[in-house]
Symmetry: C2
Subunit: 243 residues, 2 copies
Amino acid sequence: MADSPVAVSCSNCSVRRLCLPAGLSLAEIDRLEQVTGKKKVIKAGESLYRAGDSFQNLYAIRSGSFKNVVIAADGDTQITHFALPGELLGLDAYSTRVHSSYAEALEDSSVCLLPFAQLEVLAQQVPALQQQIYSIFSEELRKENEILMLLGKRSADTRLAALLMNISSRYACRGYSPNEFILSMSRTDIANYLGLTAETVSRLFTRFQKQGVIQVNGRVVQIQNLLGLSEIAGTHCGYEGEV
Amino acid sequence: MADSPVAVSCSNCSVRRLCLPAGLSLAEIDRLEQVTGKKKVIKAGESLYRAGDSFQNLYAIRSGSFKNVVIAADGDTQITHFALPGELLGLDAYSTRVHSSYAEALEDSSVCLLPFAQLEVLAQQVPALQQQIYSIFSEELRKENEILMLLGKRSADTRLAALLMNISSRYACRGYSPNEFILSMSRTDIANYLGLTAETVSRLFTRFQKQGVIQVNGRVVQIQNLLGLSEIAGTHCGYEGEV
DNA sequence: CGCTACATTGAATCGAGTCAACCGGGGTGG
DNA sequence: CCACCCCGGTTGACTCGATTCAATGTAGCG
């Protein structure tokens, strides 16, 4: 929401290190910027795309955060990802040409539109971009594997601790404090993502607080004992090397 | 195991429809075959690659089946995928250049080696191949999302029913009977994949049998009431459109 | 001011895990 | 050839973590 109306450019974007331009030369970034002209602002609670929408763009988050949600045939939902600045949304729609999930802003946010048809052509000409796209796809797969491990094998407290570690380290990557942050998602969202109920998540927050590993006040979280938290997470700290 | 020693070629491969050549012209497949020369046979229980191995190849399954397993810091494992002929293994290692998971043959199997460095160069020249690679990556992401839903939200019986539906439909895609098949994985593997214990899986098999939806004898499964099974799976049949 | 949505807390329930015993087939070695 | 063991699978009894249901608290907003 605090975005000035200046032209969008990767070269002065604060998350370029984490985003599509990573690993590209200045000349290559120049060419990329011819594709990434448009910016879009999304208010908290609004959708960037919906399940069923035709696939046109990838979206690179400039600021804010999103939840990515898949919907089962019976209407049940599962949050698969909390996305932060620098991350790409919409990758899973490429093969079917239709979005099978939706992305909803957790706070007022802004994104770059990346028309995939154009991006594809450019990647054909710029090997480094091609490689970066593969890299992002591959990294997404690796991250999903970590979450599978969390949902398949871990107890409730381990799951929540791992999520907190993960968010903390991703904020740190983006230059924010790893020890104090505001969760942009509700307890219900956290519970959905972790395969738990909101009640369980709430109880865990108060338990962690009693144990002295964190301090919670609504959505404001301070980590007071990072080591303790990582022990609860079982050294699966932030599910390792997450961005 | 039943593979003759003829040269590997995509054009006469029974799973080319499901694999990398899908959507390529004959001329393009010709070029692809210059990259995919080598075949490798893997015996049941052996690894195709291990966690920590450097990333050199993608592997396309010609025959047999594999489990893909991620390993946590504490040694705990999670099967993320049961892979069948036509599917690609190793995609998640691209970004780090190191395999973070391992792939183990569930039965005697054979694979094509796809040196990624060469594949990448070829994809740069052949847009249809480029698109097929994106498509496979994207499809993998979509499939993982379905599994997340399964692990995050579903009861034990729903999980197993969904897996059976999934395997059934994937066999059907490959020209085998959807109603009678031999599971190539152990109960323990199924349990690990579904986030359950072997005991629970075993109990479910006998319960499904008592309910008359399937007939089980060790690893031989006959589906007797597909509709009933899909109802237990909650219409999340085979987690939709799986290959 | 009161409505609504989100969050917390408590008590009771239940699904799946744990622990342990047992079965049966296949391979090994005496 | 048979005895034995080992491993995968099955079954039962008990336990426990997380859900469910319900009540209460709290903050933001028209």
